[in-house]
Amino acid sequence: MTLPPKATERAEAERLLALFLDHGAERVEPDLLLPADTLLDLYGEDIRARAFVTPGPDGGEAMLRPDFTVPVVQWHMARRGDPARYAYAGSIFRRQPDPSRPHEYLQAGFELFGHDAAEADAEVFDLIHAQVAHLRPRIVTGDTGILTAAVMGLETTADRRNALLRHIWRPLRFRALLDRFSGKTPVAAARADLLAAAEPFAESGPEIGLRSRAEVETRLAALRADAAAPPLAARDVGLIDDILSLSAPSDAALERLRDIAVDLPAITPATDGLARRLDALDARGIAPARLRFEGSHGRSTMEYYDGFVFTLSLPDRPDLPPVATGGRYDALTRALGGGDGMRAVGGVIRPGVILEGTA
């Protein structure tokens, strides 16, 4: 596989950037070398497998820019303003499981802060899609907010809802929790013995380390409360499964979600949001029937995408990564804005993939 020359890739990125600037965006140019703390706090150790971490100038760790979203959010949260539109083009660095893929490549992106959520989602999708529409990309969309709303609407303990919410982005663990909370996974003998024990700390040795005995006792109490709580209703687990396995054109998916909302009314605001987004897209000439909706789309990628998500890939080139991706990340603005967040949505295009796909 030959990759397009850097200069061609650069010219394509600049061309896309110019279009985003024409659209009214302000140009931003985040540092290439970012302090690692923020990214590690957000994404945990997983990011080390995807990014290049290096000793930093201040004795801490630094990271070669693994994406633009985090530094752009930091830039915006320090200044605020609603709405605000930003665009950028530059290198990002990612470790690739496939060594033949580039570890350094260009991204051109557009981010929109504030504004009406449905309008903003449609504006970003339309702008990104328009630049690659000539490649006839396969479009897959989703909405993590619907799953989140469904979990928040489950009739169970707050601890269980929070445990599920924490693992929305880790499908395996999410499933393991659902199985446990619904009683599908039986309680392990060791766990049953522990909860039944009169002296759970018998012969358990001295208290060592920073996690205190009081913290262990707190969790034991939580485990006892959990054991006493009734299992999740099979019907509710079935509704979550219905959402996760949904794969249909967006107009049909909306109808299906409205059916699910009859039994799970907590998702109604999120499905109303989907309806408004589809209307806004339709008004821009993007028919909902053309947008495939998948209930689990966007779950296994990056955390903090908590609403609309989209991926555009080249249908004849399954060997290439998506040509464009994007989504809503209100949760990220909360995490970086000290709990005080705002609406934000954005998308990026990979000029190198456009060139490979048209070569």
Binding site: G44, F201, L210
Partner: protein
């Protein structure tokens, strides 16, 4: 001529020699030259004595065709190890398990599921992620990621890892253990999910070594004799 990398000292070297000897191939160190050896019983194989820790890198670079080392070292040192080396034989010695251990008095933590839940609560309480001391960063990261564990961080520990919990530089550890003795002496217990990786001495083939016709013929001959 194909180059076979073998651990240069200790029981790992002796057991490797023994394993090949049982299959009709004799290896010996050449006394006056420290890092060279003699191979008899087959033509076209040259032995290179290397530290077990260097063998993964030499295999990945294709500077040796074959190498004997611990499967843990290959997985830890090589990104995408399975596209760079091929396992020809698990040799049945040098067993060592990489395990996660937590304080024994954490009676609420028995599985990875528990560790994950404890990590979430720990982070809320202490303001930083639950620290796991280890020198096996890649193996641990891939394992915990594969199992969807969050809110932990790996801190580097190149020695005396069992002491890090008592010293409060880590809350849990992940280390190689052949017996549970050291863990028990340090009031630590392993999780019940089983080891992160059950390592043993393994004969690897380097994908990127110069496999010309002669080298391939020698390899076929060798594999026939070894029955692998």
């Amino acid at each position: 001529m194909i180059k076979l990398g073998v651990p240069s000292k200790g029981r790992l070297m002796e057991k490797t020699f023994q394993w090949f000897a049982e299959r009709g191939i004799t290896m010996e160190k050449v006394e006056d030259r420290e890092y060279a050896g003699r191979v008899s019983g087959i033509d076209g194989v040259e032995m290179v004595l290397l530290s077990a820790g260097e063998i993964p890198r030499e295999l990945a670079a294709g500077r040796i065709h074959l190498g004997v080392t611990g499967s843990d070292l290959v997985r830890e040192k090589l990104a995408g190890w399975d596209s760079r080396v091929e396992e020809l034989a698990r040799m049945g010695f040098g067993h060592a398990d990489l395990v996660i251990a937590v304080p024994n008095f954490w009676v609420d933590v028995d599985t990875l599921d528990d560790l994950d839940a404890a990590a979430a609560a720990f982070r809320r309480r202490h303001g930083h992620r639950l620290r796991i001391a280890t020198k096996y960063h890649r193996l641990m990261r891939e394992y915990l990621r594969g199992h969807g564990v969050a809110d932990y961080q790996l801190v580097d520990s190149q020695g005396a890892t069992e002491g890090t919990v008592r010293n409060e530089t880590a809350e849990a550890i992940a280390d190689i253990t052949s017996t549970g003795e050291t863990l028990r002496a340090n009031h630590l217990k392993t999780l019940s999910d089983g080891p992160v990786h059950a390592s043993q001495a393994t004969l690897f083939r380097a994908v990127d070594a110069p496999w010309d016709d002669a080298a391939q013929a020698t390899l076929a001959d060798l594999r026939g004799r070894l029955g692998v």
